[in-house]
């Protein structure tokens, strides 16, 4: 028996002349949290809305446990959804909001309110059950929305950028809470975001989207360390991308020759990708490769930005306790961890 809970096959969708989805396919296994990550307009929300039944695809199919959902209306899909905008019903109390899905399923009042209190307890808001939405903070409203989406035990939980309207601290707490709940309830979840930190921190797998297509779908670790395209490399985490020339196992880049292990890429002009944490700096007035132009303090780490002699800009990520010596204007030698260098043609 297939473990695929959700299967999206060759979805295409246009809005006028704009192609939102172009032959988009995706499989999500039971209990998995998969995130669709991409820039604005890449089609991730459209894909989610088609899965939810709130948008109709031009072509392609959505299967849930082998059941074709193409003609099933949104209210019969049994999918809970949390929206980017606050979506609680303003005329209902917190508990009534959470119980709404059960009310629609004709569960009796006592049972549905009991379930609502259980869910509110899970998101730490049982004490607020008699309040109205406008009496809650943004973070609390989204937690209630999450409880409402989970109350009727949906087969799939759909999250459409639910954290984007919240401030940084609340956002960080809530994303941990989403993951905790998702793991404890085992609900298959499809999450949409443009925030790569959010995607990488809570997902089992992340699908990076570009122009209506999946560029790559992998575990966060694999996506970060082995991006399959320049777009993915640049979109996921900070990446130094420079052009170089490959000859055999050597790559000449910003005046240095690096030894790389990549037999697939042919010799000639190549793109070289190096994560900032794999670039080390050493202060040196003699034989300096670059000059520090700025330093950004990011907490435990700092980002040091250097300019090579040929004008190339290179980012290095160093522990903040050692980055202090690299003030703007300092000349530095650059050492690259060659094992971590990625090379691709074009």
């Amino acid at each position: 028996m297939s473990q695929n809970n959700l299967k999206v096959k060759s979805l295409s969708k246009r809005f006028g002349n704009v192609v939102a989805l172009n032959n988009f396919s995706l499989e999500v296994t039971k209990g998995e949290l998969v995130t669709l990550l991409g820039p604005s307009g890449c089609g991730k929300t459209t894909a989610l809305r088609i899965v939810a039944g709130l948008e109709r695809q031009d072509s392609g199919t959505v299967f849930l446990d082998s059941r074709d959902l193409t003609l099933v209306p949104a209210h019969q899909r049994n999918m809970g959804m949390v929206f980017q905008a606050y979506s609680l019903f303003p005329n209902l109390t917190v508990a009534e909001n959470v119980a709404f899905g059960l009310q629609m399923r004709k569960v009796d009042r006592v049972a549905r309110l009991k379930r609502a209190h259980e869910l509110l307890d899970l998101v730490g808001l049982d004490s607020q059950s008699t309040r109205f939405p406008h009496q809650l903070s943004g973070g609390q409203q989204q937690r209630v929305a999450l409880a409402r989406a989970l109350a009727f035990e949906p087969e799939i939980l759909l999250l459409d950028e639910p954290l984007s309207a919240l401030d940084a601290q609340v956002r960080s707490n809530l994303r941990e809470e989403i993951r905790r709940l998702q793991l404890s309830l085992g609900t298959t979840t499809l999450f949409v975001t443009h925030d790569q930190e959010e995607a990488m921190s809570i997902s089992d797998r992340v699908g990076v989207m570009k122009e209506g297509k999946l560029e790559q779908i992998d575990t966060p670790d694999e996506l970060y360390n082995h991006p399959k395209s320049a777009f993915v490399a640049n979109f996921v985490g900070l990446m130094n991308q420079v052009s170089g020339t490959k000859t055999g196992n050597n790559v000449s880049v910003f005046g240095k020759t690096l030894k790389v292990k990549n037999e697939v890429v042919s010799d000639g002009r190549v793109m070289v990708f190096i994560r900032p944490e794999f670039i080390e700096l050493e202060s040196s007035e003699i034989d300096a490769d670059a000059k520090v132009i700025s330093r950004l303090f990011l907490g435990s780490v700092s980002q040091v930005i250097c300019q090579m002699h040929d004008g190339t800009i290179i980012h290095s990520l160093l522990a903040s306790r050692v980055s202090g010596e690299f003030a703007p204007g300092i000349c530095v030698k650059i050492r690259v961890n060659e094992e971590k260098v990625l090379v691709s043609n074009g």
Partner: protein, 257 residues
């Protein structure tokens, strides 16, 4: 000092309310004064009111206008709430056209409208007084449409509809359980406007040869002018009390924002 500043800041509001009060209350007060006159005998009494309610046809036509107006309200809500919800949620291009169409009753003369209705409506509709609610609905469309439209624009309709649908509500329950309660004030305004316009509609009713309360009042006025004014005063009070009752009976809105 603080009191003076408070009085000065409230002054424009007081002036506007006073002027509006005069504008509405003075004619009504005058009409009321006229309705309790004893005619040539002089003095004041409620005999014109007593005469009116002793008239056999008073309650017949009052009830007839009441239920025709109620049917009009039902037709208006059943047509407009789903239509406007759908237009807003789908952001349909048809909205511009329908907005424009809803204003047509303001520019089409009622005579043309009556003739059109006589020519276009099938006999089984024309032969019953139930044709009136559908025509009243069209006449009140410019006001009812806008009252509802404003209410629906004031809420995040698309998100709320989608939240309801993804929670398992079909379209009918989304409208009845979510949209109508949330836009209660706009719905009540629509009910009030439609009811008041239908209750007082005269020209179209006469042109289509039907008798309702306003046409009966006109007929009565030929015989007893003071009595007709007393009836008119009562017809002002009845919808006022009705609408006040609707507003009071509507569930409290104080916990919403």
């Amino acid at each position: 000092m603080d009191l003076m500043i408070k009085i000065k800041s409230q002054m424009p509001v007081v002036i506007v309310l006073f002027s509006l009060g005069l504008f509405f209350l003075l004619p009504m007060g005058s009409a009321f004064e006229y309705s309790i006159r004893n005619g040539l005998e002089g003095g004041y009494s409620f005999k014109n009111y007593l005469w009116a309610i002793r008239e056999e046809e008073f309650f017949y036509y009052a009830f007839r206008s009441f239920w025709l107006s109620s049917v009009t309200v039902v037709v208006t809500l059943v047509v407009l709430v789903p239509l406007l919800t759908w237009l807003h949620v789908t952001k349909s291009r048809a909205q511009g056209w329908i907005d424009g169409f809803s204003l047509l009753p303001l520019v089409i003369p009622v005579v043309a409208f009556a003739v059109g209705a006589q020519l276009a409506l099938p006999d089984f509709v024309k032969n019953t007084v139930l044709e009136l609610p559908f025509l009243y609905f069209i006449l009140s469309l410019p006001y009812a449409y806008r009252a509802l439209d404003i209410g629906l624009r004031a809420i995040p309709l698309k998100t709320l509809v989608e939240a309801a649908r993804s929670s398992g509500a079909n379209w009918r329950r989304t409208i009845t359980v979510v949209i109508v309660p949330i836009t209660r004030m706009a719905v009540l305004a629509t009910v009030a406007l439609t009811f008041a316009l239908s209750l007082g509609e005269y020209t179209l009713t006469v042109l289509l040869h039907w008798d309702t309360f306003p046409t009966w009042v006109t007929f009565v006025a030929q015989e007893n002018l003071l009595g007709a004014i007393a009836i008119s005063m009562m017809t002002l009070i009845i919808p006022f009390l009705l609408l006040a009752a609707i507003s009071l009976l509507a569930p409290s809105n104080k916990n919403e924002r």
